[in-house]
């Protein structure tokens, strides 16, 4: 039966085989779309990164005399300048050391505080666990530099000009180490990333089966041994994952060190890169961006390795797993008090400080006559550049409009591209194409935003071939933001398409529906929810994003974040704080709205 008398159709070989495969591939537009998307992402993601890396190794315009080479020729001058020259200390090594100091400081504090809070929420009978599970992750929904501005509002001293902080105003001059630099940056980053630890560590703790603890005890292990040999090893992947993610985030953090580090020249890698770009040291900027990317890639690779390790522990939380709560007894109130204190320090106080500062003429004076709504809705103010309250300023509305259009268009585009990426990755018959798309869309995740923005500036600052110089246009911001959001958008798209599987679309194909009809009547309607999430979540993170915009935006393309930073630079404290409050409100409201629409909750199950 395996053979018959029928005419044998031989297997096509060589070129014929490829022609046959091409004919098959072109039968469906999936492959064509995949090829177009691969080309698009290569241009939007790979080329900018290559461009900035090549800047680091080629002579830049204006540096011919210093490098003793022609523009465009290969040089190690910038590597030398960044790593070994007399200025290397200021350009790279000290910023690197500062970055490491604040990152590890923030990690240590957030792990200690977040670890305790995660345990209290996930495994104890603390009062108000459910409420705290949501309340304590609010800092994560707000831009980190919201807290930096609140800090300066309170602690700013006479070291820099402009309006003094509240303490200074009442005669208690805070020392520089408390007002600026490593200490406040570390504390603020720690408070901002503590929710990370609560989420990651809390969910691992929740999944931890207390029967494991019980069985170790029944086998004779004392409490300390159980903690060291059973609980800790099983929690280790979640802990290390939190450490590395916080580290990667701190590496690219720009706003906080910009606001709090600049007055005392406390540079981190991100601000040093910003300075290099500002002083047109393109080659050095290339080296710094490359170094940030390298450290970022290493951190994420270690995290990926640990995630693989963690998969070996999948038996945790198997059928019949128990999550028994520890009884705190007389410690229930103190525990709740601790959680409440952290909430007040990380959410209540900063927001209240910012809010109060926007309605006070003089800082730190609580006399009724000192309160005013002028900074929100006043007219004919005595300030030079801000003649009206912020809500009446056309600049605010222009920045708000820019934010909505730039972030909105980028989010819609990346959301749609994410779903399409998911579709072609799951459906294309050409595997290398699927692998390329999967990896290329993930690449921006490895590159901190500020380095990615520098890469965009490197590629699009001038006309290259048919592509005109895009610096100063909204298009460069849209493209950069879109590419920056692709890791999340494509992951969401791929996992949604994986979950959907091929069956519904194949069923539609079998009953005669063409590609376009299948997409519009089956795939997109079923994926509607994930498309909305894929647009909304990047939109929210885009609204509060700063590092990408600070490099690429010009006054005409100011978004709310860069607008508020400009106000900080001009020392219009009240106006800057008001804009930051608006951003925080939008980000928080947007997150809550997104959770409502998608019926999800970041703190899902944590306090249950």
């Amino acid at each position: 039966m395996a053979t018959s008398d029928a005419a044998v159709a031989p297997a096509p070989v060589g070129g014929a085989r490829w022609r046959y495969r091409l004919r098959l591939a072109l039968r469906e537009p999936t492959t064509v779309i995949a090829v177009l998307m691969a080309a698009l992402f290569a241009y939007l993601i790979v080329v900018p990164i290559l461009s900035i890396l090549s800047d680091a190794a080629t002579v830049q315009f204006g540096d011919e005399r210093r490098t003793a080479g022609e523009t465009g020729s290969v040089t190690i001058y910038y590597l030398y300048r960044a790593f070994a020259s007399p200025v290397a200390h200021d350009l790279f090594w000290e910023p690197l050391l500062n970055t490491l100091k604040v990152a590890f400081g923030a990690i240590a504090i957030s792990l200690s505080v977040g670890g305790v809070l995660a345990w209290l929420i996930a495994r104890t009978d603390m009062f108000g666990r459910r409420w705290f599970a949501t309340a304590l992750i609010v800092p994560y929904m707000l831009p980190a530099w919201t807290f930096a501005l609140a800090w300066t509002t309170l602690f700013k001293n006479r070291t820099v000009g402009g309006q003094p902080g509240w303490f200074e105003a009442i005669g208690l001059s805070p020392p520089d180490w408390l007002a600026y630099g490593q200490v406040p940056i570390t504390i603020i980053l720690a408070l901002h990333y503590t929710p990370f630890v609560i989420l990651l560590f809390g969910s691992a703790l929740r999944r931890f089966d207390s029967q494991l603890e019980d069985s170790a005890r029944i086998l004779g292990a004392p409490g300390r041994v159980v903690a060291l040999q059973i609980i800790l090893p099983l929690m280790r992947p979640a802990l290390l994952s939190a450490v590395l993610l916080i580290f990667a985030k701190c590496l690219g953090e720009f706003g906080v060190p910009y606001v709090l580090g600049l007055p005392v020249k406390f540079d981190v890698l991100a601000t040093s890169l910003y300075r290099s770009i500002g002083s047109r040291q393109t080659g050095v900027a290339g080296v710094l961006a490359g170094a940030i990317m390298l450290i970022g890639v290493l951190a994420i690779m270690i995290d990926a390795h640990l995630a693989r390790e963690a998969r070996r522990f999948v038996t945790v939380g198997s059928k019949g797993a128990m999550n028994r709560l520890s009884r705190l007894k007389s410690w229930r109130w103190p525990a709740s008090g601790f959680a409440a204190a952290i909430f007040i320090v990380s959410v209540g106080m900063p927001l209240l400080t910012l809010a109060l500062s926007t309605v006070m003429h003089q800082p730190g004076s609580f006399a009724l006559s000192n309160f005013t709504l002028d900074y929100w809705i006043g007219r004919d103010l005595p300030t030079v550049a801000m003649r009206t309250g912020i809500l009446l300023s056309p600049d605010l509305w222009q920045a708000a409009w820019n934010t909505i259009t730039i972030v909105g268009i980028a989010s819609v585009c990346s959301g749609i591209l994410g779903v399409l990426t998911g579709y072609v990755v799951v459906r294309t018959t050409i595997r290398p194409l699927a692998i390329f798309l999967r990896q290329v869309t993930f690449m921006p995740y490895l590159v901190p935003g500020i380095a990615f923005a520098a890469a965009y500036l490197s590629l699009f600052a001038v006309q290259r071939g048919p592509i005109p110089g895009l610096y100063g246009t909204t298009l460069i911001l849209i493209l950069a933001l879109m590419a920056d959001q692709m890791p999340y958008a494509s992951r969401a798209g791929i996992s949604a398409m994986m979950q959907l599987g091929k069956d519904p679309e194949e069923a539609a194909q079998i009953v005669g529906a063409g590609w376009f009809r299948r997409m519009t009547s089956i795939v997109i309607p079923i994926q509607k929810g994930s498309l909305v999430t894929g647009i909304l979540l990047p939109f929210i993170s885009g609204i509060k994003g700063l590092s990408l915009f600070v490099i690429l935006a010009v006054p005409a393309t100011d978004v709310l974040t860069t607008f508020s930073l400009r106000l900080v630079d001009y020392n219009y404290t009240q106006a800057a704080n008001a804009v930051v409050l608006i951003i925080a409100g939008l980000a928080y409201g947007g997150t809550v709205l997104a959770q409502r629409i998608t019926r999800t909750n970041l703190a899902e199950g944590l306090g249950n």
Partner: protein, 353 residues
Amino acid sequence: MINQKAGSVTFENVKKAFGAFTAIPDLSLTIEPGTLVTLLGPSGCGKTTTLRMLAGLEHPTAGRILIGGKDVTMLPANERDVSMVFQSYALFPHMSSLDNVAYGLESSGLSRKEARERAEEGLALVGLAGMGGRLPAELSGGQQQRVAVARALVLEPQVLLLDEPLSNLDARLRRRVRTEIRELQQRLGFTAVYVTHDQDEALAVSDRIIVMKDGEIAQSGAPRELYEFPASSFIADFMGEANVIACEVVGIDGTEADIRIGSLKHRVPAGRARPGAASLAVRPGAVTLAEGRGEGLAGRILHSAYLGDHVEYEVETDVGTLFIVDHAVDRILPAASDATLGFKNRGIALISN
């Protein structure tokens, strides 16, 4: 009314490779119009790949596929005159049952009104009249399965493909639905290709069964032929349980052969047997069991297990350990006791020599 136009199916030297792995090395087969043919085999034997190539969801690396005499090798699924019931049913979760059934009709150019009328007919045909407004999530597993069948049937395809269509149903429902599918196929007369790994299902619904192994056809024939005359120990074991033991063909008399199993002589259908050493497939129910030593094959009970309507035994004999199913439940032979084995006339076949 749904009119089926049954078509034949032909695979000519079809090969399918996924990268370096060849799932189907060289497959040729023909399916007559109006028959229900089952592709049966263990996981990874290539039956689903064969079905998907027929559907147009996979394309052969080499060879030709013809449906109703027309070469469809290069045609995508939506341009072939086939329909398919998926293992997961693949109902569109955001559409009502009626819209699910009408979807293909609208894709083929029918007006919405006409498509919905025909879809109502389709639902009535599978016993779901009046349930068109329900979403798939509001239907039971059996009802979802019937919507999937209706969606496939209303298109009046030349060939209906069924990919393990009962695997998500419980045992009782499975028995009922397989009977319904068979009745529907016989009533409407369409050609059906049915994929399953369950030999009971294959035996119950098929005109012909094609057993596949490693991408090739291991044996093809009517259900009874496969069950009673397996061509190999693989088929014997796959088509219901079988003991494969050594025997000797001592003589052939027309269509029958005289064989010797240890000390026991027996007569079985000859098939293609030749005199000499051979293998014999013995169904667990084809062995008779008597207490103590007597005339027949001597055995010793290793284990016995009472299972309500029958007793299962493992019996050690000179020709190997045999698995036996005995329906004499009022007498259970204990372990380590002696027994005498004999063979019935059915359920025993020469498989090779």
